[in-house]
């Protein structure tokens, strides 16, 4: 499980330390990955999206948030992952 956004590594480390997060965060500073995964909008920057990639590197699930005001809860993620099994 990985978080990706366009801030730099220092910002991510501060964020992780502040909240003791256990999800590693990746720094996508030039937003290329967000663009490659269509999770980029010029206005909002990185959009909120959840993408599940399976063992063969195939996308098995994706959920894009239009506004980014909500997020997939743990239960949502769990349900999505269970469906793949």
């Amino acid at each position: 499980m990985l978080g990706i956004s366009s801030q730099d590594l220092a910002s991510h480390e501060e964020f992780v330390a502040k909240h003791q997060l256990n999800v590693p965060l990746l720094a996508d500073v030039d937003k290329q990955v967000a663009k490659a995964y269509s999770a980029f909008s010029p206005r909002l920057g990185t959009k909120r999206a959840v993408i599940v990639i399976d063992e063969q590197g195939v996308v098995r699930y994706r959920h894009d948030h239009l506004l980014g005001l909500d997020y997939q809860s743990v239960d949502d993620l769990k349900a999505a992952l269970q469906e793949l099994d």
């Binding site: 990985l2 801030q7 590594l9 910002s11 990185t46 994706r62 239009l66």
Partner: protein, 304 residues
């Protein structure tokens, strides 16, 4: 606790019925008055709550109310402060017709503690989920250029602030799929026992696809709703233009990024299931909540 919250209803009236608005000069001066006039003397204004109008860079929020004091003063012959008369083109009261009403359900304290917080300005009145009582809001608002929104209450007037009218108006607009481009609180007749506030707003129909859920709108107050309305429309159009790739079933593009747990290359993790969480920014409200919730139930996800 139920009795502590005043119940109020909001009546939205269409102010303009035709697409072709008459120019100001073509109207007799009597008709150019705003619908809520005449205004009685001796009332107390709240500063008009307005929405920044993008096109003209005119800050309605900053507009000051007309000071009403003396017996001879006749503010009803002036445009209401903050209302852009050219765009509003509010005509006489005869042309309006009621197109719907909002009724705020009584707030239950036990449940609202769980819901998202409201901004202080609107907390007194704008909380809960509204139901719009028109049969077909889209049709009801099809030819409306401006809305007059009146907040009425049967309870103590002191309990509801006039500013609530504007918040309610915005919420209403979001509910039925119209976009408010400019608006202001109007001076209203304080001699009426029921009406506590009146607002006028320019409205424009928005595509149905970008219609917001009312509960969201009511929870957030006026200004963010505006923002959301605009953003959501843009986002919808954008999404329609470009298909989202990779879609389910397609190969995920490889990447390598530095991260807090060292560099990560996707192709090195074949044989594992990877969940990518794209998020807008560190230390923003929703993102923080999201990742903190994942932190707390990481083990639950593992155990699946």
């Amino acid at each position: 606790m139920l009795s502590a919250a005043p119940s109020f209803s909001c009546v939205a009236s269409r102010v303009m019925l035709t697409g072709q608005r008459p120019s100001r000069s073509s109207l007799p001066s009597r008709q150019r008055q705003l619908v809520d006039q005449p205004v009685r003397r001796g009332r107390v204004h709240e500063p008009p709550a307005g929405v920044r109008e993008r096109a003209r860079v005119r800050d309605l929020c900053a507009a000051r109310p007309v000071a009403v004091a003396g017996r001879d003063e006749r503010p009803q012959h002036r445009p209401a402060v903050g209302v852009d008369r050219d765009r509003l083109a509010v005509a006489g009261g005869g042309e309006e017709s009621r197109c719907g009403s909002l009724r705020r359900p009584a707030r239950r304290v036990g449940r609202s503690a769980r819901s998202r917080p409201c901004p202080p300005a609107s907390r007194s009145a704008v909380a809960g989920v509204a139901t719009f009582r028109a049969r077909d809001p889209r049709r009801a608002f099809a030819d409306v250029a401006a809305l007059r929104i009146e907040v009425r209450t049967a309870a103590s007037r002191a309990a509801v602030r006039p500013r609530a009218a504007f918040d309610v108006g915005i919420a209403l607009a979001a509910t039925v799929g119209v976009e408010v481009s400019a608006g202001a609180l109007l001076p209203h007749d304080t001699s009426s026992a029921q009406t506590i506030a009146t607002a006028v707003a320019n409205v424009r129909l928005r595509p149905r696809a970008s219609m917001l859920r009312c509960s969201t709108a009511w929870g957030l107050g006026a200004a963010p709703v505006m923002l959301l309305a605009r953003r959501s429309r843009r986002a919808t159009l954008e999404d329609a233009r470009m298909a989202r790739t990779p879609q389910v079933g397609e190969q995920a593009p490889d990447f390598e990024l530095p991260g807090t747990a060292g560099a990560f290359r996707l192709s090195e993790h074949r044989g594992e299931r990877v969940v990518l969480l794209f998020y807008p920014g560190d230390n923003t409200m929703v993102c923080t909540k999201q990742f903190c919730s994942y932190r707390e139930s990481r083990c639950r996800l593992r155990r699946r």
